[in-house]
Symmetry: C2
Subunit: 259 residues, 2 copies
Amino acid sequence: MKPKLAIVKIGGNVIENKTELAKFLSSFSLMAEPKILVHGGGKLATELGKKLGIASKMVGGRRITDAQSLELITMVYAGLANKNIVAQLQAKHCNAIGLSGADGNSIQAHKRPVKEIDFGFVGDIDGVNEETISNLLKVGFVPVFCAMSHDGKGQLLNTNADTIASEIAIGMSNEYETTLYYCFEKKGVLLDVENDDSVVKHINSETYQELLEKKIIADGMLPKMHNCFHALNNNVQKVCIGDVSMLATKSTLFTTLTL
Amino acid sequence: MKPKLAIVKIGGNVIENKTELAKFLSSFSLMAEPKILVHGGGKLATELGKKLGIASKMVGGRRITDAQSLELITMVYAGLANKNIVAQLQAKHCNAIGLSGADGNSIQAHKRPVKEIDFGFVGDIDGVNEETISNLLKVGFVPVFCAMSHDGKGQLLNTNADTIASEIAIGMSNEYETTLYYCFEKKGVLLDVENDDSVVKHINSETYQELLEKKIIADGMLPKMHNCFHALNNNVQKVCIGDVSMLATKSTLFTTLTL
């Protein structure tokens, strides 16, 4: 039987809120199985940009990562956010080690080709280095990934944290029985967006289609759910979506997704 | 016989200059033995501070690391500088992994006690985690440390890069035959500061005393040399001081220090 591995992605709202972050890190550090944390930087990079007079560039509603934005992201995601998370986890006796996709060549990507929009320094993932991650896990480290990849030619790239989490989970599924956790501000996938307690407890491929047809899954949840089923279709055992309390041992309400 | 290990510290002037940095990283990646890189961030943090309207605080000629300065350092040293170095080394097929002292609990320190001056978030090193560093070396990683430590209670701390390099070299000397390289803008310790080629090729404990008495070693070189002999007195085999060309196989002029 394969050993278990949890891959936990925390949303920007958790990163931005010191109290929520501390609560999350306590729960995360108590998880018994081998685990990996994935984070972005939420609005922290945009806020630093504002102070420096660097505006977020948007084209057709999509964010563009120009050279200045990439610098901001590298400073905030890989520096400020990542190292503070690592230091706090170490204080909770969790042997965290912070990484970007360049470290140990752990996440290889290529710059997104320019079609209608030039997204700038955005990386589409080519592969996850199982050997690097596995070597770190085997000696007891808890890898903490920020949302950055690299192209192997010296260029760092901005990559969506949800995608990094699912690709790591997929990549590690050869060796581990993986569960992917998406931890955000809601208790899970909601039947009624107005009612925070209307959590759909379980979704499988069949009910997923129904929820899509009924337009219960829409807007921002669409790419998230697509990511989840992409992971499930590529050997990830289970995906869980919920708020910080999902990780606690006696947690209650959240959404579980299986094939 | 112990395996060899090189600990290389690069100065701020190398970090600040893209051409010099690329040249250095080429030489560093070609070093055959297991190796560790240590860097600060040079003037990059001060420059970012200026753009953000955060002035460097000095008391009695000494720099103070207040909370804002610590954020700058975390962003620039652990983020921008560290990750760009790692990505560039990866492009040269050197399996770099970037670390602060919090990562893997690798460098433990305590906040410098307040006496006449409150230095702020500055860490005095308590110990280097040989196990963490050794585990990384054994699976073929090349650790790249930025000049930061942590107190184990969740607090990151600013620590002098020269000191981090010497403490790592000392810590790893139980298991490895260590050589410590200080790579800066000069060719070595100079007999005449006006003459860049007046390099003292070899210094030992005896000639060190002579150079001190003759005031040939003075000013900024004093703490550097003190660091070197502290390392040599604590089982580091050899210390080399010179410019980037020191690391190349056919290098010529630099200063070697032994007991």
